[in-house]
């Protein structure tokens, strides 16, 4: 079972991740080691060409990884990203993005996750990342 609820994580977004709140990111569902997060389509998130920018997809992937970590270890706000890698696969359409994150391995000091980002059912980006867990 997840050690944090959807509602608790959305409160973290609202109170402590102002940049994610500004972009209207929200956690849609969570279970132990799995999280689904949404980034609504907005004019302020686009790049030349009209689709959501690469950095917004990185933001979304990183926030989704944070939810996955907290689902495993509970509300530990000082868990921080130590490395992050992303491949952009296809230009998203002008629509909301859905990120599906899942744990690859969680240990005492590190957690490794992957996130797939979808735009209307097509995968548009795939990221992996490592979070450091404070003692």
């Amino acid at each position: 079972m997840s050690k944090i609820t959807t509602q608790q994580f959305n409160q973290i977004i609202e109170h402590e991740l102002p940049w994610a709140a500004d972009a209207d990111m929200r956690l849609q569902s969570i279970e132990s080691g799995k999280a689904v997060m949404i980034l609504p389509y907005h004019q302020r998130s686009v790049r030349p060409g009209g689709s959501i920018s690469g950095p917004h997809m990185m933001m979304l992937a990183d926030a989704c990884m944070y939810a996955v970590v907290l689902s495993m270890i509970g509300k530990v706000e000082l868990a921080v990203t130590t490395s992050f890698n992303i491949n952009f696969l296809r230009k998203p359409t002008e629509s909301d993005l859905i990120a599906e994150g899942k744990i690859i391995k969680v240990g005492k000091r590190l957690a490794v996750m992957e996130v797939s980002i979808f735009s209307e059912e097509d995968i548009v980006a795939h990221a992996t990342g490592t979070y450091s867990i404070p003692p």
Copy 2:
């Protein structure tokens, strides 16, 4: 010599990268294959703990890579990131971040760059990325 000026790139930020303009990112200097970009410290960019968030460092690194690409190929707005990798090295202080980008290799179809991000003279993150250049 750079194929784009600092002023031209800052106009791209203002008119076409609303998320970078919102964060007050600005290009400080550019030459062929090299760019220096600044992200001012703001409350809206922070993460739990008070320092600038990982996603804002990713944004800054990606925008700096974009400037480096345009310094080599001129104003080609449809150049897009295809992959991006970052290591976070140290918690930044509550101060502006400086990104120094440089080209590793530019070819006909791909450009590869690296960016080092500094907070008060200490390196806090290091990123590499690939941009695809349209034909």
Copy 3:
């Protein structure tokens, strides 16, 4: 259906990937977009401490990605790795390694894959990579 058989890929290893043949790597099974490859435990592949070295896990992951690509596009030997990223998760035991690869996205010019490496049922490494497909 895979565009290459296990036997055909093992012949490629034998005739054209001498370093993989030297390490006794072999493809165990293949289907469209999925491949399972084995690296037997050998004294010559170890690092200080006795477990299989990081570079051998990278070799195994890269060869497994190559099998996944060929399962999608057939025997195109000039498909080449353009980027590769790996996280090492846990020290393997002194036993054979199993790599399970799957496609994330295949397009006309690029294929992106991920590979999980297991040692006695525990995941020990996770890699993602991009192959360039010749026209």
Copy 4:
């Protein structure tokens, strides 16, 4: 000043990195935070097409990072790679490869390095990696 000599590192290769010794890798020079390593051209290291294989470039980059770490912390054999990322930039010619590694940041628990690989003066690959330092 480097905490390990060229000769000491080449002895580590000979006695404890059999795969590197098999490929005739050798450290050419070392100073604190910098190392230059050579991989001679051999038929056994090639891929279809005749140039040195991607996995051999990964091996070379990883071994070079190991030398860089040991130049900073001395002979600590249980330092291990935790993540590794590489971009392949250009097909090498049929000649020896030279890897130039340098430290990005060394802390108590982690060291981050980058390595550029050259074939006859052209850069052919660029890698970054993280080593975990045992307590």
